[in-house]
């Protein structure tokens, strides 16, 4: 089943990716500024305080993931269908609604306007354009690909991600009902149910796109139609729906939530075991495709999937969770998932769409190579420093010490300094990778280059040329 050539004539999806990359730069900038407060306590306390910097960082990162995922799905959908999107006005409206919401939300933080929800928060009025924008995304998706019969697994994943994101997003706003928000335990249960599943929803969009890209690199659709691909998809869906309870093991909610999340999360051991079992063939595939730029990002993301999944499974065992909950181990897990997996996969798609040919990419080849290495090394040090700081805090939490919180935080300073230096390296590495993409003036040239690069089997032809 070879992937046929397709000359893409429109670039409606490109602005989503460009906007996403700018938002990633914003997330890195505000992340670095916020982290200063860990190594210089009280820095910017009265001007650029943490309650403003943290949402600026978190929302920029979440918007990068959402914008990147939407842009990728819309672009790959055209390639999959071998025809342009049907309603360009609707795609434009979708983009304008999201772009206006992103800008409005980030600006509102500077004026101290918050909803105060953990972890993705902004004034509830912004929920209106975001909801309408997402409904437009679902319409854009379904009007271009409604049939699931005979569809490869990534189309099922895109459909699932689009629908479940809307559901979980609406659910995250249930706190606006007084009957929910005035019961703390109920409110926090629903809050973490929605946000836990929402991550699963955007992962469906991103992982679906990574399967599409791997098919394209392989030059056939064997995997995306295989029973194992669908088996893993349903396993992911099962976890999306029921494993969110591991976020709230310590909340005095019904015990059944703990048991369900614990049992469901353990099914992920199959994924973990499968990665180890297939390690040898993964190495062979890696050797074969390592010269392909998007594959380099996919490979890095695969390594981060292994480490993040390992940590996630450990966190899902309630007894172990008790030693990690409320500590920086959770931050390490989040960073591994959002940077190591989500961002690296989105960058793989971005490089796939940009193409590796052309002056900008050729001239910046070494910069990109070094950027990928620096990103991965820095992220590993960053991740490790957070895990060590987390376990130090955990011992403090679990011991009978009378040491005050502030003194404990001072004790963690050396790890926070390492975390900050690694963060600088991470931002530099990602900057080296993002720069050529933005320089290529995506909004004008993206799909034209993509069409020539991607026209089915181009990766295989290139491999033959190199060989």
């Amino acid at each position: 089943m070879p992937m046929a050539p397709y000359q893409n004539k429109n670039n409606y999806a490109a602005p989503f990716i460009t906007t996403g990359l700018i938002l990633l730069c914003s997330a890195l900038l505000f992340g670095l500024l916020a982290a200063i407060q860990y190594i210089v306590p009280g820095w910017g306390r009265d001007t650029f305080s943490f309650e403003k910097l943290r949402p600026l960082h978190v929302s920029s990162a979440v918007f990068w993931i959402i914008a990147g995922a939407m842009g990728t799905v819309l672009t790959y959908l055209q390639e999959h269908n071998q025809k342009p999107l049907k309603n360009k006005a609707l795609v434009k409206w979708q983009f304008y609604l999201f772009a206006a919401s992103f800008a409005g939300i980030l600006i509102s933080y500077f004026f101290g306007v918050f909803s105060g929800r953990e972890y993705w928060e902004f004034h509830p009025l912004f929920a209106i354009p975001i909801t309408i924008g997402w409904i437009l995304f679902i319409i854009n998706f379904t009007t271009n690909h409604l049939k699931l019969k005979g569809a490869p697994v990534y189309v099922w994943m895109w459909f699932t991600g689009a629908v479940f994101f809307l559901f979980t997003y609406l659910e995250s706003n249930l706190w606006l009902i007084p009957g929910v928000r005035n019961h703390l335990v109920k409110d926090m249960t629903i809050q973490w149910k929605s946000y836990g599943s929402m991550v699963g929803a955007w992962n469906q969009l991103i992982y679906g796109s990574s399967i599409y890209l791997m098919d394209k690199i392989a030059g056939n659709k064997k995997y995306s139609h295989s029973p194992i691909a669908f088996g893993l998809y349903f396993l992911g869906l099962f976890n999306l729906m029921f494993n969110w309870g591991h976020h709230i093991y310590t909340l005095p909610a019904h015990a059944a939530i703990q048991y369900i999340a614990y049992i469901v999360s353990m099914t992920e051991l199959y994924l973990f075991g499968r990665i180890i079992y297939l390690w040898k063939s993964s190495v062979t595939t890696a050797r074969k495709n390592i010269h392909i730029r998007p594959f380099q990002f996919l490979l890095s993301a695969d390594i981060w999937v292994f480490m993040t999944l390992g940590l996630a499974i450990a966190m899902s065992v309630p007894v172990l969770n008790l030693y990690m909950h409320g500590t920086h181990v959770i931050v390490a897990h989040t960073m591994g998932a959002t940077i190591g997996i989500n961002s690296l996969l989105l960058l793989a798609f971005a490089y796939d769409m940009a193409g590796s040919q052309g002056e900008v990419m050729t001239r910046n080849k070494k910069l990109i190579d070094r950027g990928i290495v620096l990103t991965n090394i820095s992220l590993f040090v960053f991740w490790l420093a957070l895990i060590i700081a987390g376990f130090m805090k955990s011992f403090w939490q679990m011991s009978d010490t009378t040491e005050p919180f502030g003194a404990m935080m001072l004790r963690l300073q050396p790890y926070f300094r390492v975390f900050y230096i690694a963060g600088l390296g991470l931002a530099t590495g990602l900057g080296m990778v993002i720069y050529p993409l933005l320089k290529k003036q995506w909004t004008k040239r993206l799909t034209r280059n993509a069409a020539s690069e991607f026209s089915g089997g181009s990766y295989q032809e290139k491999a033959v040329e190199i060989a």
């Binding site: 407060q37 860990y38 009280g42 306390r45 009265d46 305080s49 943490f50 309650e51 943290r54 918050f114 909803s115 105060g116 929800r117 953990e118 928060e121 699931l148 005979g150 099922w156 659910e171 928000r181 005035n182 019961h183 703390l184 335990v185 109920k186 926090m188 249960t189 629903i190 973490w192 149910k193 349903f234 869906l237 729906m241 029921f242 976020h247 709230i248 093991y249 310590t250 909340l251 005095p252 909610a253 019904h254 939530i257 703990q258 369900i260 614990y262 065992v317 309630p318 007894v319 969770n321 008790l322 030693y323 909950h325 409320g326 920086h328 939490q397 679990m398 009978d400 919180f405 502030g406």
Partner: protein, 133 residues
């Protein structure tokens, strides 16, 4: 049975189970989850409007720059909490709260404390990997 029908059945089955679980989450009553009074409700809104959760945690969920405040009402005297809310700390800014706002925020801490204990030390660990109070 066709391949597509099996996939559809699995998808629909999972979705219906998810909706059933969701309905149970929404409507079952938690033993400890009594509603906040009017002052605590207002205090909760102040907690959210000032984005206190970006630095502080409730039940271990929230930011990491400040301490968990679920049971602060039990562990610190009310005067101490009021002093922190009035002047801030070297790390926490002074949010210039009115006396009413401070009182309602303290009432919210009194309420969070009444819902349970957040300390991980308060749990019993079981051999099967589960935890309980």
């Amino acid at each position: 049975m066709s391949d597509y029908r099996i996939k559809t059945l699995v998808f629909v089955g999972l979705s219906l189970s998810f909706l059933g679980y969701t309905a149970w989450i929404y409507f079952h009553k938690e033993r400890e989850d009594h509603p906040a009074n009017a002052a605590a409700q207002h205090g909760k809104m102040i907690w959210q409007e000032k984005n206190c959760g970006s630095c502080h945690q409730l039940y271990g969920l929230g930011g990491h720059l400040g301490p968990d405040l679920t049971n602060v009402y039990a562990s610190k005297p009310e005067a101490y909490i009021r002093a922190i809310l009035s002047a801030g700390t070297p790390v926490m800014p002074n949010f210039h709260l009115s006396e009413n706002e401070k009182a309602d925020l303290i009432e919210f801490f009194k309420y969070t404390n009444s819902t349970g204990t957040s300390s991980p030390k308060s749990f019993t660990l079981h051999a099967d990997g589960t935890i309980s109070k």
